[in-house]
Structure formats: C-alpha cells, structure tokens
Symmetry: C2
Subunit: 512 residues, 2 copies
C-alpha cells in the first residue's frame, strides 16, 4: 500500500495491474502511444447482417477472459447489455470483463452472471445495486470507476483493451453506418460509443431500426463496423431519457440555485464568450434558468454549452445565447430532436469532451460548471461515488473532468441529506480533488476555495453569505451531530481512478 | 527486378524500401496494425496560435529527413505548400519528403527546392511540370504515386509516417477546431485532411479565417491539433474550384456520353437504390445529365452519389434522386455551399471513401462509376498517370479505387487524342487493372469486358455499337497508324502503387 497525495492508502497492485497513486490534477504525463488494432480488409459490398446476438458473439471470436463494452446513451432503458451477457453465458463463456461507458440500475440483471463467474470484472463505474453488493462484499467483482474523460483516455491509450464493442445503434444500415438521431431507441449523441468504435478490436452494431443504405448522417462509419445485428428492441425508449429534467420547486434547492447564480454573477466570467455546463438535477436546471436570465438581461452572447445536453440548453442555443452546444450525451428528447436539426448542436466524442490526454479537450475551455456532491470535505474534495453509508452507488460521469477543466467549478448541494451532513471533515470517497473545486454552495452559505480571493471578496461585498468551510461544517454538525465514522473491512473491492489514470481513492468493503 | 502479374518489371527495392509486386485487386491482406502516435497532454485552455509558418515549423520539431503533408482540397489555388517549403528551406532544413494528398500545377514553385535538396522525395502523385521533369530525368526525386484510397491506407497502416501535417483550415478557431465550409478559402469537404489529422504525428492548422471559438461545425477537432497559424491567405479562391464543371458541347464527347448512358441503361443497375459516381470532365457531366433524366423518367430513387461532388450531384440530391452524397472533395462552389446546409450531403474521410484496408469503404457500395483514361489497352488496363509521351502528368485520384469497388466501371474516352490512339496494344503505364474495368466507351464504339456477358448481349440487342476491343483498336490504328514504341532509359524514377500497396507499374525515365 502507498499513500497518495490526498492521504488515501492505494494498493500497488489491483486486479492484477500495477496502480499509480494520485498526485495532482495536472502533472502526470502520458507514457503511451495511441492504442492500435489489427487492420482488416472487407472487399465485399454485401450486408454485414447476422441473425442474432449469439451469432455475432461467435463471429467476433469472443473468448474466455476477454473484455466487452457497450455504451450507456440509452441509460436506464438499455436492454442490450443484459441480453448480451445472457447470450455470452448461454455460450458457456466465462471470465468476461465489462468495460461499458456506464452501468445503470437496469443492469442489476447482471448480478447472477457475476455470481456464477460469467462476468469477473467491471472496468467501469456502476449506478445502483451492483455497486451496493460489491461494497457489502456480497459480489466478488473487482471494479474500477472511471470518469467519462478517464474512460476515453483508458481506451485510447490501450490501458483498457476492449476486445469487442457491442454498440446500440438506433438508426443503422446493413453495412454498419449508424447514428443515434432516429428510430424508436433514438438517444441523440453517440459520444461514448464513438470512442469504442475507434478503439475496440472488433465492433458490432446492434440495431432495432435497420434503414436502407446509407444511414445518414453517419455518426459511426461502416469502415469500423465488423458486423450488424438486428434485434427486436434495444430497450425501453421511455427510460432512455433522464428523469430529473425539471427545475426544482423545493425551497432549499431554489435558495442554493440563487446563491450559485450570485457566484456566477460575481465571478467576472459572465461576459461575451461565456461557456457553461450543468447536469440534469433540479437545482442545476434552476441555476441554468438564472444564467439564461442574466444572459438575456445583459445581452451576453455566450460561446458554448456542453456535457450532457438538455432541452434547456437547446432553447438557449436557439435563442442565440450560445453559439454552439458540444453534446456527448442527450439528456432529454428535446436534445435528441435538436441534434438532428440544429447546426450549432455538435456531437462530440467522450475523448473530445473530456480526455485529459490529447491536444486539449472541450472541458478545458469551460468557464463555469455546476456539479453535484454526495459529500464535501473541508479541503473541498468532493465525493459523488459513494453515499455516506459507504456503498458505491454512483458513477463519476464527467465530474472530475469538468472540475479540472473549467475556470470555475461550483458544487451545489443541500447542507443536510437524510439527516446526514454533506459538508464534513472527510469524505467517504474522493472523486474530485479539492484543488479543482472553486466554490461550495449550500442553502446555509457559500464556501470559496482560497484560490479565488477576488471572487470571495466580491461575494462578501454583495452580502452573499460566504462562510469559511470549517464554519459551514460546524454549523451543519450542530444540527446533525458529528457523523460516526463508517466501519470498513480491510478488503479493497474497487478503485476510483482519477481522469489521468492515477488512483485517487479506493472502495473498501463495508463492515457488516 | 520481378515481374508482376500484369507483366511489368518491378524493382525489389525503391527509395530504400522493399516493394511488393501487384498480383490482383482483391487478395493482398493487410499485415499491419493501425498506425499509432505519441499521446500528448495539453492542460491549458489558451490559444494555440503561433505567429508564422516558420514558428510553427520550429515548434513541431521538424528535422532533416522528415515527412510533411498538406491536403489538396484547395487544388490549383493552394499557396500553402509553396509557402511552407520556402520557410522550411529558409530554416536550412534538407531531405524533406512530401506526402501530400496531391500536388498540382501551382506547385511547380517547388522545383528549385527539389533541385537544391530541400525536398528529396514525393510520397504522392503530381499533376503537371514536376512529373514531366522527373520523367525526363531533369529532377532527381523518387516519386510514389498513390490513389486516394491507397494514400489513406498508407497513412493508416503507418507505411507512410507523416511527421507533420500542415493543414489548410478555411474556418478555424484559436484552439484548433476547423472546417472547410466557410471563409475566403472555403473548399467544403476536408476528406483528405481528416486522414492526416488522425495519423500525422504532429498537426498544424493553417488558416486565413480565424473565427471565435468554437468553429462550428467541427470537421477536424481541437483534440488532434497541436498548433494554429494565421496567414494572410491560403491561396487563390478562384482557382480552388475545378475548371471543367460544365457539360461538354463537343459532338464526340456528346456521342460518348450517350453511349455511356446506353450502357448504364442496359446494365440493370438503374433501379431504386442506384449509386453513382462521375468526375468533373465535360463528358462525365454529360453522362450525369443522362442519368438524371433516366432517373426522373423512371422515377428511380437512388441511394447515393459519391466522390468529388459537383453542383450536378447537389441538384440531384435536392431533387430527391439521391438520399445522400458522400463527399470526400467538393469540386465546385455549389457543392461547397451545399455541404454546409444539406443534411444528406455527408463529408467523409478519404479512408471511408476508398481505403481498401478497412471494414468496407464507400466505393464498395457503388453501382456504377464513370472514369477517364489517357490510354486503354486490349486487356482493359487503363492509364491515367502518364501521357503517350511517357511523361507523368496526372495523379491517380480515386481511379483504381472506384474501379475496384463499383459493380460496373465505365471508361469514357475519345478514341483518338492529339492524333494518338487511346485504345492500343499496351498502355504506357498501368494505373487500373483491366480486371476491374467493365466497359470502354469511345465515340467509335463500346468494348465490354468478358466478365459482363449479359450486358454485352443486351447492348447488342439494343443495337448499341459493341465491338471487340481488338477490333476497336484496329479501327483506330487504321486512322492513327500503329503508335511507335516510346524509348525509355533503364532508370526507374517513380512507382505507381496500386490501392493495396503493391506496385502495379513503374515510371521510367524517357529517353532524350
């Protein structure tokens, strides 16, 4: 075990691989060439269609011990990964690793296949029950949680070699061109899948909407697709879009959003060329509403919005408040409908969005981002992976990527959740280092990182309730009491990888 | 020296590299992994702008013996390659190879720099004087002529490692996103440049139209661009578009076009889903005109048009005759204007267009293509590189790529040009093997490859003047006389590479 710079104990070896302890957000240099793959030659002009997922698994030559991937743009509506693992199991394959871009609650169906050894490793974060069971030691399956940018990096450097990518293809032709814009499973951007399409050793497009050649516009081209499989359905379209896409009506949320808007106003960033990202939560959308109003009022012409795109951002694009939307993932149907129509609505790969190891990702150009937290510590470190019960319940998403990239990252969170303090001495798990976090906004006040003295002064001048983060913690502890330390076993069940590939924290088994 | 399957003597080593003799169009299998390159990390969010081409050359670390590239989408209007070589020379660099996607007449300015050893090799075909001087032995500069698909293959496999690509960027932001759609040097598709952007070891975007971040739509992304350089002009916009973009009015040309249309009519290919490519010559455009009328008359709903795109194809797209245009290169301003506006007008890379070594290029899906010839032999082999004087005057373009890919390739050419017979016993240089050529159309009659007996029968049935190719040759020789064999020196000054990387022919020094 070695200590990383944030004081977390990191194993030198995990899941058979040497691990690098996290040092800082910036200095780790890539020590790799871009991953390569065997070049194939297809002379024929005929269909690449195979009759079933099973046939495709056989055709790709998938073997015991190999790694597969899917993309998560269908989110909780995705059936493909479940169907795929069932077929892999039926074929008697074992010891398969999953390196999907994310695993959702719907994928709890994989649990029996983890128990029986069909699946023996997760090279990706999870949302929901699988993470909980792993945390409890009830599922034995080493897990490495990666951010969106970190996952792109790991595929591009070859650190995670994906043997076969099975990519949900909402609008696909028989020769393998596909896009996410049209069809019953339309998900809009295929930003995550694009990385796999370029870097997996074999690529299968799986579609429930086979269209005449060519599927236009071509998001992922025929030249990288080995096989096409038609299935009755890729999933449940109603669950493809995110649920929380409405502005909050909760008074605490509204207060937080208002303070966050004050922070943006005081930051000096709100001027022509402004760029901005929020997630989908009700508070984030409420901040976006404030931002829209500020931009309208001051006639600000923004540069771009990015990340997972919602209808809110589409409206801002159409209103001319932004020149462009960089879209790695559409969060709602309005975004899906826009990406097929608005020229400024630009589909980007997860690598272009957030990979730290290239000539500069889009997150580098962000002025301001609104991010969330399950816990925040007094050094501004943020946890989004585990809850205060120690269970791994959430994927990182782009959290640490945008925090590192943006000029100002603003964490919005209620001070107390389920009677537990959100600001505390130490977070259960560090997802995002405090060095990349600018401001913590709660309904009880705002804590500003010492890296932003001017912003702090301006907020104080405008009588926004700025508090020292320790003061904020004490105020919250006075209500909730000091949280009892969680009891963990020694066993490390997972790692949280920082975007550069170093290990920022571990997930330990929670004591029974 | 070894004989290839077409009876041409091929050197085993040329320009220091082992060469593979051509065997057939289909069987050579890739023996390579996709080329890789060092991964870089750029944390900053600032400008990548450098002050001049010279600064950029220095910043990229270009050294003696290295290889540079540019793209040819500005065609004869391009000033960048000339300016670049002048700066490289001024910096005292020597022994630089050029691996641009094509070299045009305007680049005769490079001749002094070849003479003095600044440039010592051409890993690309040339149009014009440079080729003539090389053919005459007056310029000592080994040249390897590649097709568009073959060049993409050579960069993707790493066979031609481009150290630095200097890419003309008609609409570019300071962080390196660019497209070809807008600005004084707008050229539309950046299909050739996209290959270099992915595979060159360093990438410089050179622009005369710096726009606020982000340059939308993003054709080539910031993530692959190391530096951006602003120059007063990339070239002469008037010469960016091709000259011959009008239907022929010459009676011989009109007759050829009519026969070619007869061939298409008799081929059985003209039905829903029809896909088609022509070049820009007056005869080709006249064939396109016939095709358009046939499609209208029979209410044919075509699939796609591809290749270099002209306004003709744009009109057919807008009329609904094609679902899509696959555009690797815009040939006129109407195409440039369309690609920024028509959703079905799809920009594709040269690799997607024609690389034989991937999961299937667009050319594989072509039904019918109209191609040209400087000479044709009685085995249907076609020359487009040299003229009958033996001078290397033309690049291959996509000639052998589309011939291999399309179900039916139709060569259109006058039977006699400048008193010389076009159909002859042997061509000076084999660009495209006869095995991939379906029909030869001249104003004196049509020769059909034995591979298409049904087509031949149908043409005869419809009283189209089908002739045996030897009969056609004799008829032409009766007018022109039998051409005197050209006298060559032993010295091989260049190679003609087939699309798969094997050597289909050599260019020998013409005897003085």
């Amino acid at each position: 075990m070695v200590l990383n710079s944030l004081g977390r104990q990191i194993p030198e070896i995990f899941a058979g691989k040497k691990q690098i302890p996290y040092s800082d957000p910036w200095s780790l240099q890539p020590n790799a060439e871009r991953s390569t793959r065997a070049i194939r030659r297809i002379n024929h002009n005929g269909s690449k269609l195979l009759g079933s997922l099973r046939e495709a698994i056989i055709a790709t030559g998938l073997k015991d011990g190999m790694t597969i991937s899917t993309h998560h743009s269908l989110r909780n509506g995705d059936h493909l990964l479940n169907d795929l693992v069932k077929e892999i199991d039926a074929l008697g394959l074992r010891d398969i690793k999953i390196a999907s871009s994310s695993i959702h609650i719907v994928h709890a169906e994989l649990i029996p296949y983890i128990r029986k050894g069909t699946i023996t490793g997760l090279e990706c974060g999870v949302n929901g029950l699988i993470g909980e069971l792993i945390s409890k030691g009830e599922l034995d399956c080493p897990i490495i949680v990666r951010s969106h940018g970190g996952r792109a990096r790991a595929l591009i450097t070859g650190e995670v070699p994906v043997d076969v990518a099975f990519l949900a293809a909402p609008c696909c032709d028989e020769y393998g061109n596909f896009n996410g814009y049209y069809g019953p499973s339309a998900c809009g951007s295929l930003g995550y899948a694009m990385v796999d399409a370029q870097h997996a050793h074999k690529v299968v497009a799986v579609t429930d909407n086979l269209v005449p050649y060519p599927a236009i516009p071509v998001g992922i081209p025929q030249t990288v697709v080995d096989f096409v499989v038609q299935v009755p359905t890729l999933g449940d379209p109603k669950k493809i879009v995110s649920s929380t896409t409405r502005v909050t009506t909760d008074p605490i949320g509204l207060q937080i959003a208002k303070y966050a808007a004050n922070v943006i106003e005081c930051s000096g960033l709100m001027k022509n060329g402004f760029s901005f990202q929020t997630g989908t939560g009700g508070i984030s959308l409420s901040v976006a509403e404030h931002v829209r109003n500020m931009m309208r009022k001051d006639k600000i012409k923004g540069s771009f919005g990015c990340g997972g795109i919602t209808g809110y951002f589409v409206e801002m694009l159409e209103e001319g408040l932004f020149e462009a939307l960089f879209d790695v993932q559409c969060f709602d149907l309005k975004a899906v409908e826009s990406i097929g129509r608005n020229r400024g609505h630009q589909e980007i790969t997860a690598g272009t969005y957030a990979n730290p190891f290239n000539c500069g990702a889009v997150v580098n150009r962000l002025d301001c981002v609104i991010i969330s937290a399950t816990e925040i510590d007094v050094d501004f470190n943020v946890n989004v992976n585990t809850e205060s019960n120690g269970y791994l319940l959430h994927n990182t998403g782009g959290h640490c990527d945008v925090a590192a990239g943006a000029k100002l990252s603003i964490v919005v969170a209620p001070s107390i959740r389920g009677r537990l303090p959100i600001v505390r001495d130490a977070v259960t798990t560090i997802t995002t280092p405090g060095e990349t976090v600018g401001v913590i906004v709660t309904e009880r006040g705002i804590a500003v990182n010492d890296k932003f003295p001017d912003l702090k002064a301006e907020l104080i001048k405008r009588r926004v309730p700025v508090k020292d983060i320790r003061e904020l913690r004490d105020e919250i502890y006075a209500i909730t009491g000091v949280p009892k330390p969680l009891q963990f076993e020694d066993k490390i069940v997972g790692l949280v990888e920082y975007r550069d590939g170093s290990i920022i924290d571990v997930i330990r088994q929670v004591a029974a």
